[in-house]
Symmetry: C2
Subunit: 203 residues, 2 copies
């Protein structure tokens, strides 16, 4: 019909930055978001459900999915495959549901290649904010310490270049508020609304 399509949001960032906590808090507040369900070759554990916790596949099935380009990204941990099936995401988007994917930086970059129309959010460690304050501050730190911090900061900044938004995780609630604002404002992007209305007029 004339329903607006959903948007795929990808939350990523350096390990240890608190992606999981932010995602959890966000889902408590934004119950309309669909969490992207991964495929895996690892065994189903007690209490887990097919299509809710994971899509469970054999190694052969998973490798066929890789071959056929059916995954937005995949990785191997401890002999098991994990990946994001494109079909599930597209099905939800077609239904008008926003899909949310929380993932490591390497996975996010794969998704970016396979699904560039996604909205990529980089969760940023507050350490650079602190670094900023320290550099501005009293300058009592050793040169070597400052140099190391600068190097670390440069690495983190270079990681953000593929993303659309950067949210500093100095406070979980504030970070969640910002991500919610990104979700709302992305739905107001002119390109999306214009395309929708043009479709209506031609329909």
């Amino acid at each position: 019909m004339f329903e607006e399509k959903g948007i795929l949001f990808i939350l990523s960032g350096p390990s240890g930055v608190g992606k999981g906590t932010v995602r959890q808090r966000l889902f408590e507040q934004e119950t309309h978001l669909k969490y992207s369900v991964s495929a895996t070759t690892r065994e189903k554990r007690a209490g887990e459900q097919e299509g809710i916790d994971y899509f469970y596949t054999t190694k052969e099935q998973f490798e066929a999915m890789i071959q056929n380009g059916e995954l937005l990204e995949h990785a191997q941990y401890v002999e098991n495959y994990y990946g994001t099936p494109r079909a599930y995401v597209e099905e939800q988007l077609e239904k008008g549901n926003d899909v949310f994917l929380e993932i490591e930086v390497q996975g996010a970059l794969q998704v970016k290649e396979n699904f560039p129309e996604g909205v990529f959010i980089f969760l940023f460690p507050p350490s650079l904010e602190e670094l900023k304050n320290r550099i501005i501050g009293r300058g009592t730190e050793s040169d070597e310490l400052v140099r190391n911090r600068l190097k670390e900061a440069e690495k983190e900044i270079s990681m953000m270049s593929e993303y659309d938004y950067v949210v500093v995780n100095d406070d979980v609630d504030q970070a969640v508020q910002k991500i919610k604002a990104v979700i709302t404002s992305e739905h107001c992007k002119r390109e999306r609304i214009e395309a929708e209305y043009k479709k209506i007029l031609e329909g």
Copy 2:
């Protein structure tokens, strides 16, 4: 210092769409926003203050400002000039303040030419939403009525093409919420934050 610069937001849309009401409600909630102060050649009225209500100029001064490119836009109504001085806007942005400008479509297009780094929000009449429902609906309207509505809708849609965001004003509070989300998320844009941090590291 390392302060983030402010952003110029421009709210515009067809006449009668309710820009003034939305802007007023927004300012009640977002007291950090600076309203762009216009220059005018019309006489100061009782109770008005220079630099708060308007910057008051003579006709000659105003025409010199036009000549020198000191206005982001200007127009003439009833023999008086009205315009947006670039200097005031840039001064506020440098201080880290967001500036908000509510303006007719013609003026917004001038601002876009002179200040393309602004964020342009188109306030959209709910009539197209209604039209959408009617087209989907029972189809009991006359062909001519539908044709006229479609023509009107096409005109309004063609106006939005220069804007970054489109907010449907079917409910003032919802429209305000969306504009607030745009303001928040624009501050999270990667380009802005990346530039800021790079400046820190080089500084």
